[in-house]
Structure formats: C-alpha cells, structure tokens
C-alpha cells in the first residue's frame, strides 16, 4: 500500500498541506517538543526511583499530535492505549496526573471531569471495542463527535482489534482506529507479527477505508485524521489509519532494546525524526525561528517544572483508599473488610 505523505523526510512539501492556522501549527510543534522533554524528565525520575515503569513516546510525536489536533476537544473523544501522553495532555489530562499515574499513585487515575478522555489501557486492544461502543452510543443519542482510538502494531494482532473493527463497520460507528505502527511489539518486529506488510490493508475486510500514513509527518496525520473525522461525522462510519512511525527509545524503562534492535536501524530511524522534519518546514515557511524555539523551550520548562512540583508535593495516598471506587454501591462484606483493614493498620 502507498504511504500518504505531505512532508517528506527532508521537510519538503510533497502534497497539499491541510488548512491549519499558524498559531495552531506553533502549538503543535510545541507539544511535540514537550513530548521529547517529558521523556527525558520521566526517564530521569524513573532512574531515581520516583516513577515506576515508563513508556517513552519519542519518535511518535507527530503521529499523536497530528491526529489529536484534528479533533474538537469538546465533542470528540480520545481512547488511548498507554503511549499517548501527548494526546491525553492535549485532551485535558494534567501532566502531573500523568506522572502520578506512572508512579503508581491512585490519584493518577483521575480523569478530567466531564471530559472526553478515556483512561489509559494496559491490556492491548481491549479498549477498541469500548471505543466502538462509545462512538456508537454518541451516534444513537444524536450527539456530535467521533472517537479517536490509539493502539500499536502489537495490539493489532489481538482478537479485540478484529471484533472492534468489524462491529464498527457494521454499526457505522464514528470511530477512528489509529494504529501507531512503530514496528515493534516490545522486541518483536512487525515481520514476525504478521504476514501482511500493512495494518491498513485490513480496512477492506471491515468495509472501511484503510490508509497508510507517514506517522512521522504531522501534516499527513492531521489531514488523514481530519478526513476520517469528516467521514465519521457524516455518517459514513469508521476509518483505519496506520501511522507508520518509529519508536526511538526503549519499549519502556524496563526494556533493553540493544538486545534486539539492529544498530543500523537505530540510525535510519533517527533520520526520520518527526520533530526535525516539522521544524525544518516551519522554519522554511517562516513560522518558526530560534526565538520561537527558545520560547518553546521555556514553555516546556515551565510545564514540566510545574507538573513535577505538583507531583512532588502530592502526599502519599491514604492506604484505606484502596477500597474506594470499586463499587458505586459497596457490598457489606467489602465494608467489613475495610473496617478490618483499618483495625489491622491501627494494630501495628
């Protein structure tokens, strides 16, 4: 399948850029830069024992930012897997909450109240049928909005992926399946995950368009997501977008990619850096310069400092809260367990 590109590796236009105003383009680049910075910070926090396992996003900034910016945050929903820091932030999640989540603090599970954001999903692909139900439910109620569901190439081998795509197709649910194909399921390269060269090729089997997009081209991601959104809103149902992207770092901080990633591939992928490409074009078209970059750097500093400060000052959770939120209407036995728990803690 053809790869849809607007900006090529060198930052040259090879297609029609989508209509995005300059301020928004700047915001997009800033968010991409923030992503890279969050990775650095989180990895260093993890090394100092302040965060649990962290999944870096570096290399996938364009795929996330280009797609999520095509949404209307009021009415469109984001249903992430676990590497969608940027889409989640853009959709209202405070960075400090994200960090708390990664440190294993229950407060990290907070979601924006009345927001249009789903929780992180650990089980690969399990959120996809949920995204379909959500989109279908919006449609049933005549509410506007589409659902943008992210998942990886790895998740595309799960049965849930198939059942979700198929149900979406038959119910014409306004959902956008955005597969972040970074070529790896932890240590397993795509060619050991599937006999198909492309995830997008699966669209046809569900009666939906499947498009293969350069995921490191933020403009192509924006354009194809916008198009998918139009289809969804117009009642034409789901779209499958395969964002062909790169995982520049490890799978997570618990992973050692030198065990399995060929050294030359690392070099090749660096050349596809989505930030460099976008910045080159932004600079060449007069939308960005060293000043803007310095300003963006300061903005990133602020975001991160503020988030880390909040994170640092969040008290450890009260142990008894482990009983919270399991049921809306708590069974007697659980209430008693809670009481016994309190008594046990006090007995120490």
């Amino acid at each position: 399948m053809e790869l849809f590109q607007i900006l090529d590796e060198g930052g040259q236009l090879v297609g029609e850029p989508p209509a995005i105003d300059d301020a928004t383009l700047v915001e997009m680049l800033r968010l991409m830069l923030l992503g890279r910075r969050i990775d650095q910070k989180a990895i260093s926090l993890q090394r100092r024992g302040k965060l649990g396992t962290y999944a870096p996003l570096s290399g996938q900034e364009a795929a996330s930012v280009g797609s999520v910016f095509a949404l209307d945050r009021e009415s469109d929903w984001v249903v992430p897997q676990y590497r969608e820091q940027l889409a989640m932030l853009h959709h209202g999640l405070p960075l400090s909450t994200y960090l708390l989540q990664r440190m294993g603090h229950p407060q990290g599970s907070e979601l924006p109240k009345d927001g249009t954001l789903y929780p992180q999903q650990v089980a690969l692909g399990a959120h996809l049928p949920q995204a379909v139900g959500l989109a279908w439910g919006l449609r049933l109620q005549g509410r506007p909005g589409v659902v943008l569901a992210y998942f990886g190439d790895g998740a595309s081998s799960e049965g849930d992926f198939h059942e979700a795509c198929n149900l979406a197709g038959v119910r014409k649910a306004p959902v956008i399946f955005c597969c972040q194909n970074n070529g790896w399921a932890i240590s397993v390269p795509w060619h050991l995950q599937s006999g198909s060269p492309s995830v997008a090729a699966r669209g046809a089997g569900y009666g939906m368009p499947g498009v293969r997009v350069d995921g490191n081209d933020v403009l192509a991601m924006y354009a194809s997501t916008s198009e998918a959104r139009r289809r969804g809103l117009g009642g034409d149902g789901p779209t499958l977008i395969e964002a062909v992207t790169t995982r520049l770092g490890a799978h997570t901080t618990a992973d050692d990619p030198t065990r399995y990633v060929p050294a030359d591939q690392v070099e090749q992928e660096k050349a596809r850096d989505p930030i460099t490409r976008f910045r080159t074009w932004m600079t060449a078209t007069g939308r960005w310069d060293d000043d803007a970059h310095a300003q963006a750097d300061r903005w990133c500093d602020e975001q991160i400092e503020r988030a880390v400060a909040e994170f640092d000052s969040t008290p450890r959770p009260d142990p008894v809260t482990l009983f919270d939120n399991v049921y809306a209407d708590e069974p007697v036995r659980l209430l008693r367990q809670r009481a016994a728990f309190v008594a046990d803690r006090e007995s120490r």
Partner: protein, 325 residues
Amino acid sequence: MAVLSMVEAIRSTLEAEMARDERVIVLGEDVGKSGGVFRATDKLQERFGSERVVDTPVSEAAIIGASIGLATAGLVPVPELQFLGFAHQAWHQIGFQLARFRYRTNARFTTPVTIRAPYGGGVRAPELHSDAFESMLVHSPGLKVVAPGSAADAKGLLATAIRDPDPVFYLEPLKGYRLVRDEVPDGEYLVEFGKVRVARAGDDVTVVAWSGMVGIAEEAAAAAEAEGISVEVLDLRTLMPLDVDGLAESVARTGRAVVVQEAPLTAGFAAEVVATIAEEAFVHLEAPISRVSGYDTPIPMPQLEDYYIPDAHRVLAAIRAAVNF
C-alpha cells in the same frame, strides 16, 4: 399477580425497563429479529426498533466491550450472551474491563451494564451450552452476580440489576426458563441485592442453593420432611453481594449446612459458601458442612447429564448425613 414462567418474567421485565428508561438498550446474538434463541427478547425489537434491540455479529468480546463504551456514552446496555459457555470468549472484557472500569477511572465513569446469560444443564443441549460456573464471575471485584431461582425473583432482581449503577452478571437457569413458574407481582417490583430468600423455613439443617438448584433443594427438603427432618432452604439470589449474615443466622439456628451447586466441585462457588459458614458459624456447627455438587469433570454429554447434575436423592443423602452425624 400472575403465574409466569421465568423466561416470560424476564422478557416482560426487559420490556418494562425499556419502556421506563429510554437509555436501556438490548444487544446480542439473535436478540432482535428472532427474539432470542429462548425468546427472552421476543417482540422487543418490534416495539422498540432495531436501534435499541440490536442483532450483533458473533463477537462476544465486542458485545461486552461495546457495552462498556455505550455505558460511558450514557446508555444502559443489557447485553445477552447466548450461553454462559461463550462468556469465556469475552472474559477479558468482563473480568478486567467491565468490572474494573469504575476503579480504573476513579469513578469518572460508572458502567451500569447488565449481562444476561442462560446457564446450567438439564435440557440435552450440545457441549459448552450447559456448563455452570459462577465462581470466576464472583471472583471479579467490581462485578455483582445475580442468580434468581424463581420467576418472581427473576423479575425483581432483573429490574434491580438494570437500575444498579454497578455492572451485574445476571444468570438465568436454562432448564428453569419454562419449568420454573410462580406468582410474579404486577407492576414495579424490585428485589434488593444481598438478601437470601427463605424458600422454605426449617430447623434441623440449612440447605443453601441458587438458580436451578433451588428447586432440587426444595424437592429434597420435602422428602426429608417426610422422614421427620425439618429443612430450611435458602435461595441465595445474589452471589455477590453475598448475604453473609443471612447464611450465618440460619446455620447458627440449625447447626448444619448442605450447599448445593451444579458446577464442578473444586473451587466452585459452593466452596465460598462453605468457607463463609465455617468462618461465621463455627461455634454452632454440629456436623461438617457438605457440598452436593457436579463432579470435577465437564458436564457430560446429554445422555449422561442427569447423572451429573445434583438431584434430590443426593441432596437428601447429604441432609441425612448432616442430621445423623
């Protein structure tokens, strides 16, 4: 009051709940046009249309997963799994997704989904259609598990389930669909979760049962009566929440307990009932608590299933053993 079969009590309750609350939608395999393979959703699509009574593809995981999504969109889904044996295909969506959605989101989302599924043997169905297993459902924090043993409860518990903010797994005894018939209150009727029903009062021994085994327990109790043994039959009604106090109170009085389940013995829900009684009523026990249960095999081929499913003879033997201990 009208005498209804269980399946008719379920069908009419679904209809009433859909009429009451337009957010309620039914989805599943064959629930629409054909009205369900047991007619539990008969005529609902005619009345409420094919957007509220939805025939889905054969995709159990997607049926439950989509129900979660529908619930977060503000609807009240009542998915049907055609047989409990096919809940396994959706197990990840049930045990770790639906049950935990509220927990995972710090209560940003609740998912008032009621999954309905028939289960249990006795109707000569093919493999995987008759298996009884409840314990894995109960062992899923966040989920409630309901298993009516009478038509009246089928109504009252289903209405409560649909209105409950938490996800509920609602088990329907396949054999009882048409066989169990009793007086069902007219109009609005809700049965509270977590309270046993004393199906029969008695003093010498407590027999605990639920769903399809309630009738068997009652049959055995009647036979025991003839031998001068007074048996209390408790219908658990809801397995989660479990009426710990109701169990303890009865056994404290009788001093003896027999727990009946259709599932394989080992690690079935009866083990939980025994463990609970053993913890809560230890000082009152005058005999070992015993289990009358399916065996540690799959429910066998139809020609042998009557030998597998506990019957009144086996329950009576356990009652006698408890009394004569």
